[in-house]
Symmetry: C2
Subunit: 222 residues, 2 copies
DNA sequence: GCCAAATTCGAACGCCCGTAAGACTTCCCT
DNA sequence: AGGGAAGTCTTACGGGCGTTCGAATTTGGC
């Protein structure tokens, strides 16, 4: 990779944990580099250099490079799923147990698209998650398959909104919807930035969410 | 990777070219390994071992490992695009210049899903293409961006079928549709195989195509 | 049958990688 | 003030990687 000096990486760490600052520096630098260049194209030396810490820090604090990737993935996945579950729960409350299609899909798609906003704190995290999902280690793929409980909440809700569809059909359509989302790996750079002349605006993200929701909702109504 | 002996890789080469058999052996073995394990996880030594040829063959016949990847990608992409263009052309002939939505989308989705059929000769090629699209080198990403001419044919046709939509809207929906398709990276193994108890049948693929078409068509009608 | 070109082969080079070992420093608790 | 744990640092090891080189071998035209 390019040895651009991401080094002066600020002194404000996550503040969410009072652990060693070094660990957070590594975590943040690694997430950023993994998101931008991919897991295999980023070396431990790249990470520690960007974080401004010692080479041995990764293995001391995380055990191994793979374990570091996995830890970032676990934390960010949990955060994203928490936001999704919260929105779904609120939709349930608002609609006495059976929200309309669009609200269910909004609970699924809004959190990641919020993260995608130009100055959002988790923007790079979403890029990381999408990349990790496709390039990740076997361990990550295992989590993705095992983490059915989270998706089940959504397929159940969708099934309640469209009880005439078979569970299998609902599962496929959910799969399609997630495909729409995950394919924004490069679109985040290409389309989103190109369409608005290099500067992604908040409005663009909102418009994109709207487009995705309309498309997916229609797909589910078919 | 696992050093499983893919070695005895048959004597029937592509027959499409009368060039050195070694070159084809390398081509086929590399495509298979890249598709199954990803570009970065397959070494030149893995490829030549699986192909049963000498280590230096890759560099002699293709120049470099990257060039090999690129050559496979170019050939398979051309083949796939040719099939798509042919179907779109036939749809145009059948409908005096402006086919209905579903026929346009069928021209886009049918070829790759045909390749996905259990005993199709190009099954592994499609897995390769989907993988290369997301993990590929910068050179491949450049081709994907440049290869607008192929997608333009489809966005133009779609625009003619839905003239009330803005070109931007059409382009996004096309992007969504391709996302549905490309996300079948692991689905090919997980869903498709799981649902039919380990044995993907031709019928499953046809059913999947139908589901995708219905979903995408509804999305475009929204 | 011969020679030159094309191909195959074995071996090695140089590089970068993830990880570990051991010395050194910092910090906190009593 | 001292001692032990926690963290940081330097250094290097072992290994796999893509690539290259020169010799050996095969091929094809005359």
């Amino acid at each position: 990779m390019s040895p651009t000096t991401d080094a002066a990486a600020s002194h404000e760490v996550d503040a969410s944990e009072s652990e060693a600052a070094t660990k957070n520096l590594v975590f943040v630098a690694a997430e950023r580099l993994f998101a931008l260049h991919g897991f295999q194209n980023v070396s431990v030396r790249d990470i520690t250099a960007a974080a401004g810490v010692n080479l041995a820090s990764v293995n001391y604090h995380f055990g191994s490079k793979d374990a570091l990737l996995f830890e970032i993935f676990k934390r960010r996945t949990a955060e994203l799923n928490r936001e999704r579950a919260k929105m779904l729960h609120e939709a349930n409350d608002r609609n006495v147990g059976s929200p309309p299609l669009r609200e269910i899909l909004a609970a699924l798609l809004t959190p990641p698209l919020r993260w995608l906003a130009p100055d959002h704190e988790r923007r790079i995290s979403l890029q990381f998650l999408i990349r990790a999902r496709s390039e990740g280690t076997d361990e990550i793929r295992q989590v993705l398959k095992t983490d059915v409980s989270h998706l089940r909440r959504f397929s159940d809700a969708l099934l309640r909104a469209r009880p005439d569809l078979s569970p299998e059909e609902v599962y496929w359509r959910l799969h399609f919807t997630l495909g729409m989302l995950h394919n924004n790996r490069f679109a985040e750079f290409d389309r989103l930035n190109v369409l608005s002349e290099g500067q992604t605006s908040e409005a663009d993200v909102v418009a994109l969410l709207d487009r995705m929701l309309s498309f997916a909702e229609a797909g589910f109504r078919a």
